[in-house]
């Protein structure tokens, strides 16, 4: 046996200081239900509910946009893009009760509130998480988390930038001189015919769906909806919803780049009937029948 050298085996461990003190103090409690939002669990509830609202909007938005594939339809005796008819319909929601556009602004207000709450809860939870975490010096091996769950904060920020651009591009019309308020179909085609913009839309929508995938997956847990039947389907529901949105939303820029969406080459300030008269409504996606139909209608008119 080795003769052991004298080693000081007594521990140099000192009584700990930091571990006993909370990292953060609890704030003064606000009145109910605002106090829910003071806790991280409550913020996750707000994030989940606003996230569900926004996913609902995204699905509705995607389904509405499918109308761009319908091209020109007859409307009030004249020919118009179905997309433009739809936009008009949205402005006229609840019109006998409320003035034109008011209900649309109420909906927009709701969405904006949801976005702001979603972002604020993200901001404050992310700050909490960064303050609570310490990264490992060695490489941590991820077993359960995936690209979607780890990239939530980044995909969210890019999607936010995309939403701002999208509103400026196709709601306000700040990015193009050719923008005409209400001429939705031609505005969309004009914007997305630019490969750079179309590319940005495609990338942003892929990230949106990555974000939605983990969002839907998390919603059940954050809201405490937990039973074995739902748990088995969670991943399937998340894949189905995000996949549906992905296919729908990415199809629009792709179809426009491929020339499969009816577009017009004349001055968008002309009415659709006049455009059809000038024979510059091109419908490469449709067979010539529909074109002839709209012609005959406009002639009759």
């Amino acid at each position: 046996m080795n003769k052991r050298k004298a080693v000081n085996l007594t521990s140099t461990v000192s009584p700990q200081k930091s571990g006993h003190k909370p990292l953060r103090e609890t704030k003064k409690e606000l009145p109910f239900p605002l106090n829910l939002y003071q806790s991280a669990v409550g913020k996750k509830w707000v994030m989940a509910i606003t996230g569900l609202m926004l996913v609902g909007f995204v699905i509705g938005h995607m389904v509405g946009n499918l109308k761009m594939y319908l091209g020109v339809l007859e409307h009030d005796g004249s020919a118009a893009y179905d997309m433009d008819i739809y936009a008009e319909f949205l402005r006229n929601l609840l019109v006998p009760i409320l003035p034109e556009g008011v209900f649309l602004w109420i909906l927009r207000g709701g969405l904006l509130t949801a976005v702001i709450l979603h972002i604020h809860s993200f901001y404050s939870l992310t700050r909490l998480n960064i303050a609570s975490g310490r990264s490992y010096e060695s490489k941590q091996d991820w077993l359960a988390s995936n690209f979607a769950s780890r990239s939530m904060r980044y995909s969210g920020i890019i999607v936010l930038a995309y939403i701002i651009f999208h509103i400026l591009d196709l709601t306000v019309g700040a990015t193009s001189d050719e923008f005409v308020h209400g001429a939705v179909q031609s505005n969309v085609v004009n914007s997305l015919s630019n490969p750079v913009i179309a590319g940005f839309y495609i990338v942003a929508n892929i990230l949106l769906c990555v974000h939605i995938f983990h969002g839907i997956f998390s919603v059940f847990q954050s809201l405490g909806v937990n039973n074995p039947n739902i748990n088995r389907m969670k991943r399937g529901i998340a894949t189905a919803v995000s996949g549906l949105i992905l296919v729908g939303n990415v199809s629009f820029p792709v179809a426009i780049l491929a020339g499969a969406v009816e577009y017009n080459e004349c001055d968008p300030k002309l009415s659709v009937a006049e455009q059809v008269e000038e024979n510059c409504v091109n419908s490469s996606g449709h067979d010539s029948d529909s074109d002839d139909d709209s012609h005959s209608e406009s002639e009759g008119y």
Partner: protein, 258 residues
């Protein structure tokens, strides 16, 4: 037939809470593959002591996977690569001759390093303290089957009670959240009739104490993978549900008192 392994260890050495730490490389020679991971560290420490160097400080106690004292990050995974196994129950036969093993302490802002691989996990005790007590009848002992408990509730409670409080969930979480620990401790009592009188007070107090120290859940699921007792994520869902209820119910109770 028992074989021996020769390994290279990269171990986090840190003198004290405020000292700077770094990885030191050690050779672990002739480790029997029957040895547990902690016994392997014992062998290395014997060698260090023989050479007049300070042994590696690591947390350990029962060494049979039930006390929750041990726990280190092994090759980037809490409690090593074996699922449902604490560090003490991880055996060296799971490694191959010539492997390099990186050993790091748990990392979280609430878990400061005390020395080497030992961290201070007392914030977990703070959460338990906040939970308080259960109402228990005093007097003569009640009959064993006096309180009827559905089998499912008893099973679920036992699953939650399996939590040994080692802190692997916090260590594995990208946000250093203690949701799995707290929710298991809550569901242990909240799922049983005996735990009902204080259910919502307990939930509110423990969640809010947890949030003073730890991060928030982003549903990665790393904690479940790391857990030596395989506590399920379902308990986190139950906790989220109970917390919102607690805010409503405790408010009503407060109204009745005034």
């Amino acid at each position: 037939m028992s074989q021996t392994l020769n390994l290279t260890l990269k171990v986090w050495r840190q003198e004290g809470p405020d000292a700077d730490g770094s990885f030191e490389t050690y050779k672990a020679k002739n480790i029997p593959d029957d040895a547990s991971f902690l016994e392997m560290l014992d062998v290395v420490n014997e060698d260090l002591i023989d050479n007049g160097r300070t042994p590696i400080e690591f947390p350990h106690d029962c060494r049979e996977g039930i006390c929750g004292t041990c726990g280190v990050m092994i090759n980037g995974r809490a409690h090593g690569q074996e699922k449902g196994t604490a560090t003490c129950q991880l055996h060296m036969r799971k490694f191959s001759d010539g492997d390099t093993i990186v050993i790091e302490p748990w990392r979280a802002a609430a878990f400061p390093v005390v020395k080497d691989l030992v961290v201070d996990r007392s914030p977990l005790d703070k959460i338990i303290e906040a939970g308080g007590y259960v109402t228990a009848p005093t007097g003569t002992a009640a009959d064993a089957n006096d309180t009827r408990i559905p089998k499912e509730a008893a099973d679920s409670s036992m699953d939650a009670a399996a939590c040994i409080g080692c802190g692997a969930c916090v260590a594995a979480c990208p946000n250093s959240a203690a949701q799995l620990f707290t929710s298991a401790k809550l569901w242990h009592l909240n799922s049983l009739p005996q735990g009902q009188p204080e259910r919502y007070k307990r939930t509110e107090a423990m969640v809010e104490t947890m949030e003073q120290f730890f991060g928030a859940c982003t549903n990665h699921g790393e904690c479940y993978e790391a857990c030596p007792k395989e506590i399920t994520l379902d308990f986190i869902g139950y906790m989220n549900r109970d917390y919102i209820k607690s805010k409503v119910k405790n408010r009503k109770l407060a109204g009745q008192q005034s």
